[in-house]
Structure formats: structure tokens, C-alpha cells
Point group: C2
Chain length 344, copies 2
């Protein structure tokens, strides 16, 4: 069973919870916006479902409330930024804005941050490029690239280099479902369909599966993102990265934000991209009842559905969990559960 | 059965064949070097095995013999290059050198070429970065990233965004072997283990396999490379790209070459990368008889084996095919087949 909640209500709820534990209003707003955008795009694993972690990060002081990101090293095209241990979305917005300014000036901006924290869906930042008619690309271990086509259309890739994101496994765990084979493994490195075993000392399986089907490529891509983030940033990396919900020490995550200005390359970028998207969308599907999607299409469909419904459909267990979380920090559990809709 | 041929002999043979059809000496040398490097690294699908295609490209005039690449648009950090329809390695070397110069100056160089042709293994270009202690990354539909660690060690990712590269399927076809399930599909989009069907109107399957295991991510990554190459370059893209061995029109391929200077980011890049590589190589393998490799390790092992053997082991059918190819252009078939070794 799912319940429908208006976007504005979820935004306000997350902001209230963050303010209650001491976040600055602008920081609370930045976080609320990226989490709700995750849900609106159908990536529930990276939305409201994770609010409790950010609340705890600020509440325990493991994530900083005060300060601003600082540029430590800079050329016309690059920058190294200290995220000052602020919430990930605060660091992400700062770095993306800086990358765009540089790309407007010299065609590209490559900005790397250390001292950052989790920032929600990577696509949120890359999509800001679309407003400026630029391509953006970035990664932690996800990779996201957004590029503008014509008439508001776009290419939006936003993917984990694992077969699925960890948040998806957490969501199955919270719902009490088993996960498909090939998503994760247990602590002994054996494939498992039990989300609990994957979360308890196990791990994600890289895209590609076994060796014959190219699983080593997914592993290589994950490491490539580490080169652009942890290696360039001088932040934590690989096994030194704190567990996702740990509050024993600061996260010090490395992130990489790139803006590319198509105006500095061949003319006609937008129409060429529209044509490429259209070439793929009009392919004959392998299964007659399926549609051919390009990156960003499933999310556009989810957004349309939310707009038709007049709200975002949430699994009721997620809403109850977050209302309980709000109670603990003495915030009124104002997420209403009265507009129930079926799961379909 | 394989036969062992000294690297210098293969280099000289390829150069002779290219000169016989009218290539400039420097262009013939550039091509020979990238093809032999492919074989030496164990990527036989992108080496001598493909020489006949380059010979035909130059012989028919579909690929230009004269001229040089031209910079059409430029900032301190970016460039758009017209490859002047020259052999891919000539364009690739030009663009990579330009990207490195820019990265030495402002931390990054992002160079995109149109009017290019097939350039062998992508890793050949990204690895040149290592000499300058830089990271390089590039793609056609492959993605390659090379980054320098300490004491000559490095991270070298060089992968197709399909489960395997087309050349691997050609190699199985030439040897008369069937391919593993999940590499390619037939003209109707159904998975097939017959390399002939894949090559005859079928296609490659993207990394990730089916939908549940994330095959759409491989598709998205392939399209991302297209955004950085065909879209930015204003070259051919998607279905407009000429079939690989076609000689009916020029290829006009788009390629993207990036150099990043770690000196413009956090200090200690090389030692951090060495540490990360070591962290992964020393992990306990899931199967006790296997080793954990990082990107570039299997190639290093193949190179060591070639050095111990004193030559590169080639499948005898590939050597015979190329000797026949040489005869047709009145070049002595000088690849010797007398040093036979077993396949193991």
C-alpha cells in the first residue's frame, strides 16, 4: 500500500526535521530539494527514505552545521574545494556552480571536492547543467551525465557502477522483500538474495555480473570514479570510507563535478542530441509490449505520474518510519497517511 | 596452435604493408605501433588481426593519405579538431599531445575530434599520459582511463561499453569458435552464440546483460560516450556510423581525448593510487585459486609473458590470413610461422 503526499509537504517536513537538529535554513532547503527530487524521479532509495541518516549526521555533529566550502587551489579550468564537512548538497551546489562559471569562460570546468558528505542523487547536480545548456558529469561511485537536447528534452544518465545502488537494497530490506540474484553478496563474497546479509558485512556486485559477461568492467568503472574523486581530492577512498550510516568519524568524501560547454565544440549540439534520442526511442523493441527508453525517460514518466496524481506515492512503511524519526526529535509527524493508493 | 613472432618483425610487416598501399612513413609507423601494442597487451582483437581493414581503407582512398589534423576551435582548456580523414592513430596522437599541453598549462585539456578513423586500442592513447604523470581518459564507444601510481605502477582501464568488443567476436569467427551466451545477438535481437550471426546484421549486447542485472546501464554508458564524441564533435553518430569494414564512404568518426594534471588537485596523487591498487590486489579472492587484479594487471602479465617468450604468440590462422593479405598487395609475406607453441 502506498500513500500520496504533496511534494510541498514532503519538502517542508524534511526542512523542519533538519532545522530541529540545528541545520541552517539554506542547508536544510538544499537537502530537502535533492531528496524530494530523488523521489519525484522514482529513485525512492535516494529520497525521503534516507532522511534519518542526514538528521543523525547533523544531530551528532559528525556533519558540520556552520561554515562554507573553500576553494583551495584553482586555475581557469579546475578547482580543488574543501567541503568543510558540510551536508553533501551544500558542497555539491557550490562545486557545480563553480564548474559552470569556468565552463562559460574556457569551455570546461573540472572541480573536485574533499571533506564532503553524501549528496543524494548525482543526477540532481548534473541536471542543473541543462538550464545553462551545458553538459555536466560527476561521480562519487555513481556516474551522472546530463546533456541538453532541443525543446526541453535531455539525456540524463544517473547510475551506480554496481548492478544496483545500496539504497535499493535498503529499500527492499525495509519492505521485507528479497532481492534478485546478482545484486549483492554476503560477507563471504557469495551471491545472496537476502538484503539483510548484503547490508550486514556483505557487498554490492559490480555491473556486468561474472567474469565471462564482463563484471570486471563494472569493477573498473567503479575504480575509475575513485580515481576522479578520492584520488584527485585527497579525501577518503576505498576501504577507508566510513560505512554509510557510521557516526564515529566524519565522512570526508571525495566528489568530482564537471561542466562542459557545447558552444566550444561543433555547432548544432542540441539538435544532434535530439536526433540521437529520437533514433533510439523509435527503434523496434525486442519485446513487442515494451518501449525503448533513453537515459532519463523512466524518470520523466515517473514525474508525469506524480503530476497527474498530485503528489508523490510513498510506501507506507517508509512514511511511518520517518514520522517516528520526527517524533524522536520532537518534530510533529506531519506526513499525512490518509491518501492511500494501490501499489500498481 | 600459435606461432611466436618477434615484435620488431610484426611492426616492420605492418609498416611495409601500409607503405605498399601509399601511407606516409610516419603514418604507417603510428598505426603499426598501436596495433602491435594491442597484441602485446593481449588484446588480439585490436591488433594485427585488423591490419587488412586499415590496408583496404588506405588502398581504396576512403581514408586520406595526405594532410594533417587541423584545430578548428580552441580555448586554453579545450579544442575541436578536424582529423582530416587521416588514419585514427595519427589523429589520436595529435589530439592527445594537444590535451596534455593544455593540462600542463591549466590543469585539464578536453579535445574532441571529428573526421577521424578507427584508432586501435583506446588504452594506447590514455597510457601516454603516464609518461607525463597525468590522467588521460577518452572514448569512441570504448572508455579508457590511465592514471599514474608510484614506481611505474598504474591504473589502466580500457573497455568497450558492450559486454565485449566487436573485435573479440571477429576473432572467434576467424578461429571458427562459438561465443559465450550474453556477448551478442542476431539480426532479430535474440541472444546468439554464433559469431557469424552477430557479425551479419546482429549486434553487441551492452555490459550488464538483461534489465534486472542492469543492462540498461551499459546502454547508458555507451550513449554517454556518444555525447562526448559524436555529439560534441559534430561527426557521424549512432546508426549513421559506417559499418566497420565499409569502404563506401569516409568514416568521419568522433573521438574525445582528455588529459588531467593531478598537480592541480590534492598533493600525493601517485602514492594514494599505489595504495588503492595495493588494497585491492591484496584482497582475499572469492575463489582460492584466483588472483585479484586491478585494471591493467592482466595486460601486464601478458606483456611479461611475451618478453619471456621473446615474441608475441599469434593464432596461426591470423598469421596466414595476414600473409595472404600481404601477397595481394605484392608485399612479401614475411611473417614467419616456424616458431610454433601450444595454445596454453
Amino acid at each position: 500500500m502506498r500513500c500520496l503526499i504533496a511534494q510541498a509537504e514532503v519538502l517542508a517536513f524534511i526542512e523542519r526535521c533538519m532545522l530541529a537538529v540545528g541545520s541552517k535554513p539554506s542547508h536544510a532547503k538544499s537537502l530537502a530539494e535533492v531528496l524530494v527530487e530523488g523521489d519525484r524521479r522514482g529513485h525512492y532509495s535516494h529520497g525521503l527514505n534516507r532522511m534519518d541518516v542526514y538528521v543523525k549526521d547533523v544531530q551528532t555533529g559528525i556533519c558540520a552545521k556552520e561554515g562554507e566550502p573553500v576553494v583551495e587551489k584553482e586555475t581557469v579550468a579546475t578547482a580543488l574545494v574543501n567541503g568543510s564537512n558540510l551536508l553533501g548538497p551544500v558542497v555539491g551546489n557550490f562545486c557545480m556552480d563553480l564548474a559552470i562559471k569556468k565552463a562559460l569562460n574556457v569551455g570546461i570546468g573540472w572541480v573536485v571536492a574533499h571533506g564532503s558528505n553524501h549528496y543524494g542523487i548525482a543526477g540532481y547536480y548534473s541536471m542543473q547543467a541543462l538550464r545553462e545548456n551545458m553538459i555536466r558529469t560527476l561521480g562519487t561511485n555513481p556516474i551522472s551525465v546530463a546533456a541538453p537536447a532541443q525543446d526541453g528534452d535531455s539525456f540524463v544518465l544517473d547510475m551506480a557502477t554496481s548492478a544496483v545502488a545500496l539504497g535499493k537494497i535498503e529499500l527492499y530490506d525495509r519492505r521485507g522483500d528479497i532481492i534478485p540474484e546478482g545484486w549483492g553478496c554476503d560477507a563471504q563474497g557469495k551471491l545472496s538474495t537476502d538484503p539483510g546479509k548484503v547490508l550486514d558485512g556483505g557487498g554490492l556486485v559490480p555491473i556486468g555480473g561474472g567474469e565471462v559477461t564482463g563484471g570486471y568492467k563494472g569493477f573498473g568503472l567503479g575504480m575509475m570514479v575513485e580515481v576522479f574523486c578520492g584520488m584527485l581530492a585527497g579525501s577518503q577512498y576505498s576501504r577507508y570510507i566510513r560505512t554509510w550510516k557510521g557516526t564515529d568519524r566524519v565522512a570526508d568524501l571525495g566528489q568530482c563535478f564537471v561542466a562542459i560547454n557545447p558552444a566550444n565544440f561543433a555547432p548544432g549540439f542540441n539538435s544532434r542530441l535530439s536526433d540521437m534520442l529520437s533514433l533510439h526511442r523509435t527503434l523496434e523493441p525486442a519485446k513487442p509490449d515494451m518501449e525503448v527508453f533513453t537515459p532519463g525517460d523512466p524518470e520523466r514518466i515517473h514525474i508525469s505520474r506524480c503530476e497527474e496524481l498530485g503528489g508523490i506515492p510513498y510506501h507506507i512503511n517508509v512514511v511511518k518510519f520517518m514520522n517516528d524519526c520526527a517524533k524522536k526529535i520532537r518534530v510533529e509527524p506531519l506526513l499525512p497517511c490518509d491518501r492511500l493508493i494501490s501499489d500498481s
